[in-house]
């Protein structure tokens, strides 16, 4: 018999008293499939799938649903879920001395064999440590004893494994679908005593996609530069070569409380063929792989019938680039018995949104329309390789608003390399042009309902993009640029919001950080950092204090142009894109910027 400790139901009831949204912690959704811990065999492995944000944010994540499905389908493995408890629940847990427990069987974190964190972005690092601490698990991997659970992480924020290396026994880089089962098989051999922990880690480190921090040494010079990483071998990212090999999760867990995206999600394509130079996902998810439309139609219908959702979203980095999109939408709308099916298409390209798509989508309940011109001026769009013209943008807007849309959301970024005040003014101008064009072609009775949301993000030079050597613009000058946009757009039907540049600065530091950042993250968490991605909870001061304490300057990671020959913390990973080719693009861009100046 395995010794699995869990929280009694009565104690859960007590914890939930006075909690704002108890529905986050009660499990009991349709679609859960964890195994009964009392019936686990000695060689079974139980895995905690931990999402370091709240339930409503984590549940729509398809990666979580895919891994949960794969693990629980296996006869001897079981997966349960953990989410970050909201601050009121954390207080309850700490005050009552209750350790963090899983949703399904309320098993304490310490009783799991493996805890896998999903790191969707860098601002979840502090929450990750907070969850480990709430679970009663030592943060630093080398301080953990051999019988504590192994801790790993995967997701977009692990492409540079260095910052979180301090805490992780291993990291999964790339697609996790085909990696997870072999890892668990090896883990079972370790847990039953067939092999020791080191042999386990050695064994899995030979697989594509597995990075074991303990086997890599970052060496810094006295001046504080990263001098060498030993040994020099690179971890190749794991690539799922054929998406059709992995069935869509057609019986996902259906949340009982409303998640941020309340719909059936279908990944139609992975990777993006566009090559926008700021977009990390575009480079790290290569090559582009599509699912076949026929199978998508079949599995989408199956999923809608199994779940009862009345909305479906077709996910990818650039959904309108999926070659059979019209056939897919038509196929799903025709075959479903749900007459009110609404179709949501995030990530539409302004130059591949067609009349056909517009017509098909508008038959159901119209979801919002979202486009990302990213930059205002043609010069800037050329620099970032967003290959669309102003005419593309305006024609597309016209098409959509003629078809009956009433609202639109636009995404822009400021702070790109070489961006001037003029370029920023052109963002303001484009916003107004879009609004004017939309209002001119809308049916007259609808004009008063027109509204437009504009979201201005801060450019983050990220690893594995041609801009990975670029500096990030300072907070002060970003604020001026944002104000410039605000000062030039006054229409009451246009709402403009932007991301906190302090937060972007932190994100940039954490994404380009080296192994010394681990201690900074730990100390920032000790100072109270958590929920850094939540606008009303984000506080830069614990981070600033932590950088001071560790005698590390944030500016080292954000403010400077990197030397093109310096060793980068993420050089330990082979992401599938040649560094030389990134460099040649970077050089070309720099030349364009210099020629203008």
């Amino acid at each position: 018999m395995r010794d699995i400790k869990s929280l009694e139901y009565e104690k859960l009831e007590k914890l939930l008293r006075g909690i704002e949204k108890p529905g986050r912690y009660i499990d009991n959704e349709i679609g859960t499939s964890s195994k009964d811990p009392g019936k686990l065999k000695p060689d079974s492995v139980i895995v905690a799938l931990a999402f370091p944000d709240i339930y409503e944010v984590g549940m729509p994540n398809i990666g979580l649903q895919i891994l949960y499905d794969i693990i629980n389908r296996h006869p001897s493995f079981s997966a349960e879920r953990f989410f970050a408890p909201w601050t009121d629940m954390e207080q309850q847990l700490r005050e009552t001395g209750t350790r963090l427990f899983s949703l399904e069987n309320r098993i304490f974190m310490e009783s799991f064999d493996l805890i896998g964190f999903s790191l969707q972005h860098e601002l979840l690092f502090s929450n990750t440590l907070n969850m480990l601490d709430l679970g009663g698990i030592r943060l630093v991997s080398e301080e953990r004893s051999v019988d504590t659970p192994l801790i790993c992480a995967g997701g977009p924020a692990t492409v540079n494994p260095a910052p979180m290396s301090r805490f992780m026994d291993f990291m999964v880089i790339g697609d996790g679908e085909e990696v997870i089962i072999p890892v668990l098989e090896n883990l079972a051999r370790f847990r039953t005593g067939t092999i020791d922990k080191d042999s386990f880690l050695r064994q899995i480190s030979t697989m594509d996609g597995i990075y074991v921090p303990a086997y890599h040494k970052y060496i810094y010079s006295d001046g504080g530069k990263l001098e060498k990483i030993e040994p020099g071998n690179k971890t190749k990212k794991a690539v799922l070569s054929d998406l059709d090999d992995i069935h869509i999760v057609t019986r996902p867990i259906i949340p009982n409380i409303k998640p941020v995206h309340d719909r059936f999600a279908v990944e139609i394509m992975r990777g993006c063929g566009r090559g926008c130079r700021f977009c990390q996902a575009g480079f790290t998810n290569r090559p582009v792989r599509s699912r076949s439309a026929d199978r998508l139609i079949e599995q989408s219908i199956e999923g809608l019938e199994n779940t009862g959702y009345d909305e479906i979203s077709f996910l990818s980095l650039s959904t309108s680039d999926y070659r059979d999109l019209e056939r897919l939408i038509r196929g799903v709308s025709e075959k479903t018995e749900e007459e009110r099916l609404s179709i949501s298409l995030p990530s539409m390209r302004l130059d591949s949104f067609t009349m056909g798509i517009a017509e098909l989508v508008q038959q159901g309940r119209k979801t919002g329309l979202t486009f990302a011109p990213e930059a205002g001026s043609q010069r800037m769009r050329d620099i970032i390789n967003k290959n669309i013209t102003e005419n593309d943008i305006l024609d597309c807007i016209e098409l959509a608003f003629r078809k009956g849309w009433e609202k639109i959301k636009l995404y822009f970024m400021i702070g790109f390399p070489g961006e001037t005040g003029e370029d920023v003014l052109e963002i303001a101008a484009l916003i107004k042009k879009v609004a004017t064009r939309a209002r001119n072609v809308m049916p007259r009775d609808k004009v008063k309902r027109f509204n437009m949301n504009v979201s201005i993000n801060v450019f983050n030079p990220k690893p594995f993009t041609p801009f990975q050597w670029s500096s990030q613009e300072g907070v002060g000058s970003l604020k001026k640029k944002f104000k410039l946009i605000l000062d030039n757009v006054h229409q009451r039907y246009i709402k403009i919001s932007w991301s906190d540049p302090e937060k972007s600065r932190l994100e940039c530091t954490l994404s380009r950080g080296d192994t010394r950042i681990g201690k900074v993250i730990e100390d920032a968490w000790k100072n109270g950092a958590k929920f850094d991605n939540w606008a009303d909870l984000f506080d830069a001061s614990p981070w600033i204090d932590s950088f001071h304490k560790n005698d590390i300057k944030i500016g080292y990671y954000t403010d400077r142009e990197y030397n093109t020959d310096e060793i980068l913390p993420w050089d330990v990973v082979d992401i599938g894109v040649n560094k030389e080719s990134l460099l040649s693009v970077y050089r070309r861009v720099r030349k364009v910027i210099k020629d203008k100046a």
């Binding site: 939930l16 008293r17 108890p22 529905g23 009660i26 499990d27 009991n28 349709i30 259906i254 009982n256 409380i257 409303k258 309340d262 019938e305 199994n306 779940t307 009862g308 959702y309 009345d310 018995e337 749900e338 009110r340 309940r365 119209k366």
Partner: protein, 230 residues
């Protein structure tokens, strides 16, 4: 149009009492769709399924008396409706009964006048008349007299029990000619708790037990009112 209106009753107990009114609506709407029962939708820009639920209760309170009226566009037998829906809810929420609503009858929300709560009080040692006084104080303490249709104190049948059972009938809306107020459970419980604490008594449990419609001076449940409709 072959559609019909169906009134059904379900319980919201255990962990499901932690789900909000809106959450339950979504859970049931999805289950209806999974059961392939065709729903009628409202008209307009953002069509919503036509499901009307009874008055909501605060999060965390057990209920044996949740009701909903749904418009379906199929001519489906109510027993089948109940069976199919329960199948899809997989025991999480259980529909205990479903009855067709006759044409011309008002919907649930506009019908219901009174909600009945059962409140268990533990630690009772004093004589019964003094506890009555305490409860009167609790009612007066928050000026809720006008929101209560009736209140009854029952001693549990078990001789040695120190548990009292309180039945509170609160108004769910203001009624013509009564000058009443809407009963607020949270306020009432707060006031009751404060007074009981002084006598070392506690509220052990609260249960929403039934809904009533006042008709010619009689209290009828949402199902009884269907049968009384001529």
């Amino acid at each position: 149009m072959v559609g019909k209106r169906i009134r059904f009753k379900f319980s919201k107990i255990g962990v499901f009492r932690y789900l909000s009114h809106l959450d339950i609506i979504n859970i049931i709407a999805r289950a209806i769709r999974r059961a392939k029962i065709k729903l009628e939708y409202s008209k307009g820009f953002n069509p919503k399924p036509k499901i009307i639920f009874g008055p909501p209760i605060p999060l965390g309170i057990n209920s044996f008396a949740e009701y909903a009226d749904v418009n379906v566009s199929d001519d489906i037998d109510t027993k089948k409706f109940q069976f199919w829906l329960n199948n899809q809810l997989e025991g999480r929420i259980t529909i205990s009964n479903a009855i067709e609503i006759p044409d011309g009858m008002k919907n649930l929300m506009s019908q219901v006048d009174i909600v009945e709560y059962l409140i268990e009080i533990e630690g009772y040692t004093c004589r019964e008349d003094s506890i009555k006084e305490l409860i009167q104080q609790a009612v007066k303490g928050i000026d809720t007299e006008k929101s209560i249709y009736d209140i009854k104190l029952l001693k549990r049948e078990c001789e040695y029990s120190n548990i009292l059972l309180l039945k509170v009938y609160g108004y769910t809306k203001t009624l013509r000619g009564r000058a009443n107020r809407v009963f607020k459970l949270k306020d009432f419980l707060e006031s009751l708790k404060n007074i009981l604490t002084t006598k070392n008594m506690v509220i052990k449990s609260v249960l929403k037990n039934e809904l009533y419609i006042l008709k010619e001076g009689k209290k009828l449940t949402p199902f009884e009112v269907l049968q009384s409709f001529v």
